[in-house]
Amino acid sequence: MEAIKSQDIGKADLKWNIEYLPERCTMCGSCIATCTLGAIEAGVVRVDKTYSEDFQPTPLRTHRTIPVIKQVKSIANACVGCGMCEKVCPNNAIHPVRNRDNRQTLLSRDAGPIKRGGRTNLNAQRTLDHIIVGRISQMTDPSLDSIRHTFDIRAPFGRVLPAEKLPFVLKDGKLVMAHKAPPVRWIYPLIFSDMSIGALSTRAWEAVSMAVAYLNEKCGLPVRMSSGEGGMPSKLLESEQLKYMILQIASGHFGWNRIIKAMPRMKVDPAGVLIKIGQGAKPGDGGLLQAAKVAEHVQAIRGVPKATLSSPPNHQGLYSIEESVQKMHLSLNAAFGFRVPVAIKCAASATSVSVYNNLLRDPYQICGGFFIDGIQGGTGAANEISLDHTGHPIVSKIRDCYLAAVKQGLQGQIPLYGGGGMGMTGNAAADAFKMICLGANGVFVGKMLIQLLGCVGNEEGHCNACNTGKCPTGICTQDPRLVKRLDIDRGAQKIVDYVLTFDKELRKLMAPIGNSSLPVGRSDALVSTDKAIAEQLGIQYVC
């Protein structure tokens, strides 16, 4: 008998097991060629059997050695459950199954902290699913008709002045602007969140930006997309489509060399600038792009050599919020002639309200939006310990910030955008609507977009290999062979179709509460079946 050692890794230790039916397998090899993680390999098994064909035992013996597909028993090559083998197999001979009793999490720390992409796998609770749109217009006021009535689904992006500070003068009985007010853009309340070229394959990023252009130019929906940290192709910077893009500046300042050089040649202003201070998936951590993904074109856009790019946790040189407002907001506003709104994105935190209060009271009135990213936000790469154990849920945080502004009569002056887990269950419209009723002006989504492109990752430990450069769907990799797996036209179409349905579904929720414009802060439209949630959010408890 072969000796075993307890420390040896077996299938039972791994999160995902390959189930394989040799009688169906033709050994075509497609599954092995498709598996990007090296989780399966071709091998042989010895099949020795002793049997009898008579009523009396007359032992016969067969000996066969047959080729099979085997799971690689190693943590480095552990199956992530992506299911590409199953997708490619013509005979349904192979598929991954979840192994509940695995020991992988415990055993994976030999080479330092575990890194992965995706969302938190521990804190995927869904507060929004305990909230119902429960105030229906029926007798005292009529519901609207979601198909026939007109709806005004737009959200402000930019610093909104209080009415008494608007630079109005009265001329011939009409109000006219005496001078410029801070720029405010009215955009679609669904922002495509910041996923960089680098985190995404160039092609995946292109698919998202194509969807944005199509939604704007063919569907009339002013959807805006944030570039992510790391800049953009010069061609896009110098194109008309720049007006759909929110340029992000994060702590690594990657890509800004190219952006600044392109400025004299920009035909239009960008939609905005987003200063990324933090990210919900890994608050307190800077961006992370592992060397495997720093391909040549990424090096070119960012102006870096091939190396793991760890952005610092803070913007260097900023040590207080006042400074952030004075230095970054002012200089970025000035860079675009005060024509482009500059917003800020922070990870949701127990301190978010303080940050928002500081921004609201800033004497320059220069912050054009506060983006709060909750713990359920996704990422291309992070330490798993950050993903699962740091962060803050978004729902109550948006509410807290909104109510803090209400208390001071400042609501609406700095638009609030919430993200992190929006559309996690597939229905972003319901999530967005509830967030808006709680006080958000709009929401931002990222992970959901790549899921529409074909990403199979989820918050239950499925795939999440975004950091490895081996993304099985060709979305989060720079490997040209893998990138080919993504059909960008079909991907873009999928996003467009989703947003068009999102728009219809938003109307389907606005109509029964009798609103034709977004019910920002209309918490009376919501009820909760959970007492603690109702109490925390200040909405009605129902059962």
Binding site: S137, D152, P156, P162, G412
Partner: protein, 368 residues
Amino acid sequence: MCRIGSIKSKVAFSPSKALYLMLPQQEGHDNSGFAMVMQDLYGIFTPYKDKPLLSLACTQRGAQMVEDFMDSHNFEQLAEWIPVPNNQPGLDIKAMPYYIFRNYDYPEYYRDKPMAEKEELLLDIRLKLRKILEDADEGYVYSFWPDVLTLKEIGDPRDIATYFRLWDDNGCLMAKSIVVQCRQNTNYDIVRYAAHPFFLQGYTLCANGENTFYTKNKEFQKSLHRGYVGFESDSQNFLYTLHYVLHELKWPIKYYKHVITPLPFGEIEQREDKEVLKAIRQSLANLEINGPNTIIASLPDGRMITCCDSKKLRPVVVGQTEDTVAIASEVCGLNEIMPERDMTKDIYPNEREVVVIDNDLEVQRWKQ
């Protein structure tokens, strides 16, 4: 659904006319109350048009509290009308023990102050009186303003009128402008403060409908002005916004409609004044109203306005004769008090229209 109405006339008329305007519309309301704000008063108040008139309903103790308060704040009583009720049996009215309508002169040191300062004083006094009476649960103060009288009561409007002898047309209570409503609010608790019309610093307003942005409006208005209090009804939001736009921001009246029912962005973009309209929309997003509504308001300068929600979900009609203009939720009200008018000239404002009646009874209508 409420029914609302108003009459503006070159000739002073009695409150019974307002009742005749409202009673044919009774199928649409539940006859649960009667409330009116009279402006530009005649009859016994004629000599005191420039002196603030206090309108309140209270208990005996409440009356004493008000008297003490006004004395201690150096307001000098000039005239008073305390209706002697016709308390015949069987009337459907939840009457308060006392109704007091009393003219005061300003404290001596205030008499030469500009009107703007007097306006603030009158508001402060009313708010303080309201607080005193509310804390002690001894009564309600509705308005304290020159040339304005407010009466509100719970019960059947016909019986309320009988109780106050409003059918008598005895000439003691007359006005050239009345805004009226015949129902207690139904969505919230029945309290006298929740009955339209509402009044603030010369602005009177009543609304027929539902404001589904009540919560947003309220949360914003609470910190806008000390006079924006109560919020017993979602219709108070309209009044406070009217006051904020005209009195606080001092914008021309045409911008009121742009605040409560802003144009869709698509339409704004087509307009020359798009920068202004967008700025208004974004800065006052929390004052936008949604839901089915019609409002009727009268302004401190005597003008009267009406407009509807942006989907025209509630009706309103304006009719006129040579010396009177009346506004009502339903045309049957107009037919009752002005059957002789040219009905082809009745105005049914659309969802983007505002109708303004000036003091010469000239009717202006424009699109926002």
